[in-house]
Amino acid sequence: MTLTTLDQIAYARSGDKGEGSNVGVIARSDAAYAFLREALTEEVVREHFKGINHGGVQRFEAPNMGVLNFLLEDSLGGGGSASLKTDAQGKTHGLALLRMELDIPDDVLRSVGS
């Protein structure tokens, strides 16, 4: 186990979805996907975004792409044209998630070549 950041084993892409944001997490390997499927639960993601998201978190799985897709339900300060926030579209929420620190098994780290 090594304590490191999520960006070591995943990519991310985010954008707006109504008054919330859609954060896609893309595993860098099959082993990383298997690990993240267990580790990156709705609860863990909700806790990570507690300063940004004031609603629930929903997770969807797309194993064919190695993607875990998260919906943060109230993360844009109103959404659309009503938001006053700098990041009114949640464009940076993917990078925010990749900053998460977690214990990652060494074989998972090896599977992505780090």
Binding site: T5, D7, Y11, A12, R13, S14, G15, D16, K17, G18, E19, N22, G24, V25, I26, H48, F49, K50, G51, I52, F60, E61, A62, P63, N64, M65, G66, V67, N69, L71, G77, G80, S81, A82, S83, L84, K85, T86, D87, A88, Q89, K91, T92, G94, L95, A96, L98, R99, M100, E101
Partner: protein, 463 residues
């Protein structure tokens, strides 16, 4: 009416405000059958409706007309057909402007088709009288209480009307509101003769359309490992090589910047994806968990095996309504003690306003200290000396207004065609503002004579 084995479809405009260089280079830099262009966002329709109210000849994407003026001769010479939702809320006026460009370049014979029927603002009251509640999909509230404030109402049309326009020989298809993937599926239906029953093919077209719809976001733009992307300035815009059976390959023109790999494509697939197993369009419900995605190397990614389910019985309606007012301003505050002074400055603003009787409740005001982690508020940042965000200010000036304005249109495109984490573009495209010159000089006193005259009210009238 199957006309060829492989059809090449590109998207050169990911959103209203994307760089004009995308479509210009797509036409010039390699083979292409169809160029699609997406100009509409939800807010756009409302802005266009307002423009049309003021001037009945407005209300469409004028960027499209400027683009055609630049590329139309070359596009027609190469046989590239153009499909764009540039019509906004006034597709007929857009068509008139496009025909002007056709005439200007002596391209008589070019056929311009218009797809209409998405704009239901005029029919809204009749539909509501007929029992349609237009319940808000997110909140469950009925439309009636806000009906008077509605400024635009548009149905997301599907791909078949676009195919029909192409069947009738159109070189350019102008639509109003439709689904973004529809711009791509329409040409595929036309080329391969797909029907409503070809669910897997329509779903494949939907996946292809989703990959293309944000332009360079699938070719290395807004990509996590941005350091590994070469020549982002000249990033290639995406092209799909589609076959009649629904399989397709994502690629880009040779020699362009950026990259097409499994990872860059999956980045875009996961963008605003929602529930991957049920991606709903008016034509089909696509299953984004069904397909296989293979990196073939050399900037080629193949997608096969997409599955689709029958479409739902409803169209999605996008409405906008007047929902209040807003104002945002900013100051830059230097160190020492930058953050403490910024906190004080914001308190001063609220206190002075309150003194004068203007109170703004918490949920109706914004305080951000840009540079002190506003983008990732509350997210722990593991040991780093880097500032948590940087505000990039760029500017130009000069005697040529058009040249100064051209600069402003290259900033917002970075959101989809630059490094990841670019945001804060709510102000849109910066516009040229006039520089007011100051001209102090001297003049001999003898050349100036001062006069004094005194006036007063006369009885019965002004002086």
């Amino acid at each position: 009416m199957k006309s060829k084995d492989k059809v090449l479809i590109a998207n050169g405009q990911g959103f209203w405000g994307d760089s004009i260089l995308g479509p210009v280079r797509l036409i010039e830099e390699g083979p292409l059958d169809y160029l699609t262009l997406d100009y509409l966002a939800e807010v756009t329709m409302s802005i266009m409706q307002k423009l049309k109210t003021r001037d009945p000849s407005k209300g469409y994407a004028t960027d499209f007309v400027a683009l055609l003026d630049r590329v139309l001769p070359k596009a027609m010479e190469k046989g590239v057909k153009i499909v764009a939702n540039a019509g906004g809320v006034n597709p007929m006026a857009c068509k008139d402007a496009v025909l002007e460009v056709v005439r200007k370049h002596g391209l008589e014979g070019v056929k311009v088709a218009v797809v209409e029927g998405d704009d239901i603002l005029g029919e809204l009251d009749g539909l509501m009288d007929g029992g349609e509640a237009f319940t808000n999909m997110d909140t469950g509230e009925p439309l009636a209480p806000v009906r008077e404030k509605v400024t635009s109402a548009n149905v997301y049309l599907g791909a078949f009307p676009i195919a029909e326009a192409l069947d009738q020989g159109a070189d350019i298809v102008i639509t109003g509101r439709g689904t973004d993937p529809g711009l791509v599926i329409g040409p595929l239906i036309h080329e391969f003769g797909w029907t409503e029953a070809d669910l897997d093919q329509l779903a494949a077209g939907t996946v292809a359309g989703h990959i293309l719809e944000c332009g360079a976001q699938c070719t290395g733009g807004n990509y996590t490992d941005w350091q590994s992307i070469e020549n982002m300035a000249m990033i290639g815009y995406p092209i799909v090589e589609a076959s009649a059976d629904g399989t397709f390959t994502v690629t880009k023109h040779e020699g362009t910047g950026g990259r097409v790999s499994r990872d860059t494509v999956v980045h875009q697939l996961s963008y605003e994806m929602g529930d991957p197993a049920n991606y709903i369009t008016p034509d089909v419900v696509a299953d984004f968990t069904s397909f296989q995605i293979d990196d073939e190397g050399s900037d080629r990614v193949r997608i096969s095996g997409v599955k689709g389910a029958p479409a739902t019985p409803t169209y999605k309606v996008s409405m906008s309504f007047q929902d209040g007012w807003k104002s945002v301003g900013q100051l830059t505050i230097s160190g020492p003690d930058a953050l403490a002074k910024a906190r004080l400055a914001s308190e001063i603003v609220w206190q002075r306003l309150a003194y004068d009787g203007f109170e703004y409740p918490e949920h109706e005001r914004l305080v951000e200290f840009v540079g002190a982690n506003v983008c990732h508020e509350g997210v722990p940042v593991a040991g780093s000396d880097e500032p948590s965000e940087v505000v990039l200010r760029l500017g130009v000036k000069g005697p040529d207004r058009a040249k100064v304005n051209r600069f402003g249109s290259e900033l917002v495109p970075l959101v989809t065609s630059g490094p990841p984490g670019v945001t804060g573009f709510a102000g849109g495209r910066p516009k040229a503002t006039e520089i007011i010159g100051y001209w102090p000089a001297l003049l001999d006193k003898t050349k100036v004579r001062s006069t004094v005259s005194v006036h007063e009210l006369q009885p019965g009238g002004p002086s």
